[in-house]
């Protein structure tokens, strides 16, 4: 019988302290805590957690090694399936994936799989454990567009298989959304993101930054002129949505993408960096997803009083429960069942408030959530200096518009099958560019599937 103890709690930075800094909220387990938590795993013969993991990490096996104190072996098991464990251990929605299907969760609390993964990854980094085993080069070149989770996962598997992989990244740092989107206090850039990107480089993957695929080069020039046998497009969903309501172009209205990019990629919170950011005294964040929570908690740390405005109720918030909980602990206000109808400006063209309409919940919509319905004539104004629009993102149309024959759907997403095959021969795609904005781990899963399909495509071409 396994150890019937409660889930080992994880240490976190005090909310009153962390609301004033950008250091990581969660400290993670130490080795004693991790080994103790690992004893809770039932070591199921048919583990449902593995099936619920988009990259199929061999969860019971690595947890057993943690329990035995053989962290290097645990790390090797994870590395077979994931190149970004320190990232995933931090940002995966484990509650709806591995931990959500853990048998222990039926009656009590599931094994803290995410925290264990994070512990193993952090231990490996601190102890400089690296996995650089790759098959000998087969001389075949594959191009990967975008160095976010999908691209990194695809590049990793192809490099291990012996391909010469070059990733083309438009920004000046590799990592995609891990760099520009997710804040430092959830995902440290220097220690975690850069290290895991460097681990991918250590497999022989080249990363060329500052390349705009669709402008500097095109998919066709990569295939025809540069000798790449296949291309994987993992360009993400980077285009911000706005509400198209009056006053949205006033000074002080920004997209969550702009706000987070200034702070994360450009490090505006650090006075030694040049990029400016503006929060004023009061910030309103419109939206209820993880990005909205990230923007709200970033604005709070920059010194503003922050309110999240969401048109449904807390129950329907798309953000992870953990993020909402952290945001509340830190003192973020939530204004539910509220929808902005106009941004109000002063005589100089700066935001001074938002006109909102009260909402109520109606019947469930196609997403299964109860849909918000405006309450007639129930308008009110609220004061704010800055409005951050966090309404989701859609894929950038640049690549599709410069690649003849590459089909997209009405949401501008690239059309691809389950293996990532697009409507163009030799061109594969996966991650947010195909699905629209989703999670890091789903993008990684898509990158891995596409890597397998690319291997099969190139191998069959040779014959």
């Amino acid at each position: 019988m396994r150890n019937k103890i409660p889930r080992v709690p994880v240490r976190e930075q005090d909310p009153q302290v962390r609301r004033g800094n950008f250091e990581e909220v969660c400290y993670g387990y130490n080795s004693e805590e991790a080994m103790l938590e690992a004893t809770r795993c039932l070591q199921c013969k048919k583990p449902s957690c593995v099936g619920a993991c988009p990259v199929s990490i061999k969860i019971p096996q690595f947890i057993l090694k943690v329990e035995e104190g053989d962290f290097a072996a645990a790390s090797a098991i994870i590395a077979e399936d994931s190149s970004l464990p320190a990232v995933c251990g931090r940002v995966c929605p484990q509650e709806s994936q591995c931990e959500g299907s853990c048998i222990l969760g039926v009656k009590g609390e599931p094994v803290a799989i995410g925290k264990l993964e994070r512990f193993v990854a952090d231990w490996s980094r601190e102890n400089k454990v690296k996995f650089t085993d790759v098959k000998p080069s087969n001389g075949k070149k594959v191009a990967v567009v975008g160095s976010g989770p999908a691209g990194l996962a695809c590049a990793t598997d192809l490099a291990k298989e012996g391909y010469e992989v070059t990733i083309f990244e438009v920004l000046h740092e590799a990592g995609g959304v891990l760099q520009y989107g997710i804040p430092e206090f959830r995902l440290p850039k220097e220690s975690v993101v850069k290290t895991e990107v460097d681990n991918v480089r250590a497999l022989g993957v080249k990363i060329e930054t500052n390349i705009v695929v669709g402008r500097t080069v095109t998919i066709d020039s990569l295939l025809d002129d540069e000798g790449f046998e296949a291309v994987f497009i993992g360009s993400g969903a980077g285009l911000p949505k706005f509400m198209n309501i009056p006053g949205e172009n006033l000074n002080g209205v920004v997209s969550a993408n702009e706000f987070l990019t200034r702070n994360n990629l450009m490090k505006a919170y650090d006075p030694s960096y040049d990029t400016p950011i503006y929060v004023g005294k009061r910030v309103a964040v419109v939206g209820g997803g993880n990005v909205a929570m990230d923007a709200a908690r970033t604005a709070l740390r920059l010194g503003a009083e922050v309110t999240v405005i969401y048109r449904r109720t807390e129950k329907e918030l798309p953000a992870r429960v953990e993020e909402v909980h952290h945001a509340k602990e830190e003192g973020i206000n939530f204004m539910m069942l509220t929808n902005p109808t106009e941004i109000l400006g002063d005589e100089r063209g700066w935001v001074k408030g938002i006109r909102c309409q009260k909402m109520e919940l109606g019947e469930p919509d196609e997403s299964g959530r109860r849909s918000p319905i405006p309450v007639p004539d129930a308008f009110f104004d609220t004061q704010t200096d800055v409005v951050i629009m966090s309404l989701g993102t859609s894929p950038n149309p640049l690549i599709a518009s410069t690649t003849p024959g590459l089909e997209t759907n009405k949401w501008r997403c690239i059309v691809a099958d389950d293996d990532g095959k697009t409507t163009r021969e030799g061109v594969f795609a996966g991650g947010d560019a195909v699905t629209g904005a989703a999670t890091v781990i789903l993008a990684m899963g898509a990158g891995r599937k596409a890597a397998a399909a690319i291997h099969e495509y190139i191998s069959s071409k040779k014959r």
Partner: protein, 284 residues
């Protein structure tokens, strides 16, 4: 790293640089822009592609000191490198789609303001090489801010110079020259204005008055320059556009310049703390 192969001080505050960027040089087209970072902690600064040489693999940029970041750029020397130099960004000028035959029979009027003269020059050179007729109005604050005068004279049919203080050419604004040309019955197929927002606003108003179609190139705020941030939002014909991916060139008659100028000032308070003094008349 992107090495500066040549640096030329055009005026005390305007600098021309030829930068080694082979991929960019091979893909750039007139009307597009690029983004540079001078150092690891620097801002991403959008600049118009002023010229490019595919054979040498170089791209020419021209920068004027207007704030802390442009000062850092201007203070780099020949042999130094930019940490980042990315592009080309934005759509090429729609005139690049015209055939040589079409261009041969066309006549253009370019209106260049200050630093905007730099990106105008290669376009004029391009049109001239295709057999089109091109006149150019160059407006500058004073003689010290006047650039590319001789180069322009070599490729344009007529060059009209005006300065705010009369220290070079005639004393007056580009719109005065434009009005006079129109009143004299000069005929053009199209005008193109590149320069400070305020100049493009009044050039567009004047062109509209004379039913002259006009294209402007908007130098809005940007972070990534690829459509991600939306800092460059501009209202064109009542619709919100992103200058970085929908532009940077737009129909001047349709642009809401007052909003665009106001939005340019979004970070000015912060910038002025970081040693910003506008020398081109914006925000005055």
């Amino acid at each position: 790293m992107y090495k500066i192969l040549k640096k030329e001080q055009l005026t005390p505050i305007i600098v021309l640089m030829e930068v080694e960027a082979p991929r960019l040089a091979a893909s750039a087209k007139p009307g597009q822009f690029l983004i540079v970072r001078a150092h690891e902690k620097g801002e991403r600064i959008p600049l118009t592609v002023c010229d490019y040489d595919t054979d040498r693999g170089t791209v020419t940029i021209v920068t004027q000191i207007v704030g802390a970041s442009s000062r850092q750029i201007c203070h780099l020397n020949q042999g130094d490198s930019f940490v980042d130099f990315v592009g080309p960004l934005g759509k090429p000028s729609e005139f690049t789609e015209l055939s040589d035959d079409e261009l041969k029979s066309m006549r253009f009027l370019f209106i260049a303001g200050g630093l905007g003269t730099a990106p105008v020059y290669p376009q004029v050179k391009y049109f001239h090489s295709k057999g089109a007729k091109v006149d150019v109005i160059i407006g500058a604050k004073n003689r010290d801010m006047l650039i590319f005068e001789n180069e322009m004279r070599a490729v344009a049919d007529n060059v009209y110079i005006c300065t705010d203080d009369g220290s070079a050419g005639e004393k007056g604004l580009v719109t005065d020259v434009l009005a006079r040309l129109m009143e004299n019955g000069e005929q053009y197929n199209h005008a193109v204005a590149i320069g400070p927002m305020i100049m493009m606003k009044f050039a567009s108003l004047a062109a509209k008055k004379h039913n002259l179609p006009i294209i402007v190139s908007l130098n809005t705020l940007m972070v990534d320059g690829t459509g991600m941030c939306g800092a460059c939002r501009v209202t064109v014909g009542g619709k919100t556009k992103f200058a970085c991916v929908d532009g940077p060139e737009f129909d001047g008659a349709l642009v809401d310049f007052d909003e665009a100028m106001r939005r340019q000032g979004m970070y000015r308070t912060i910038e002025s703390e970081a040693d910003h003094k506008c020398k081109i008349g914006l925000g005055e």
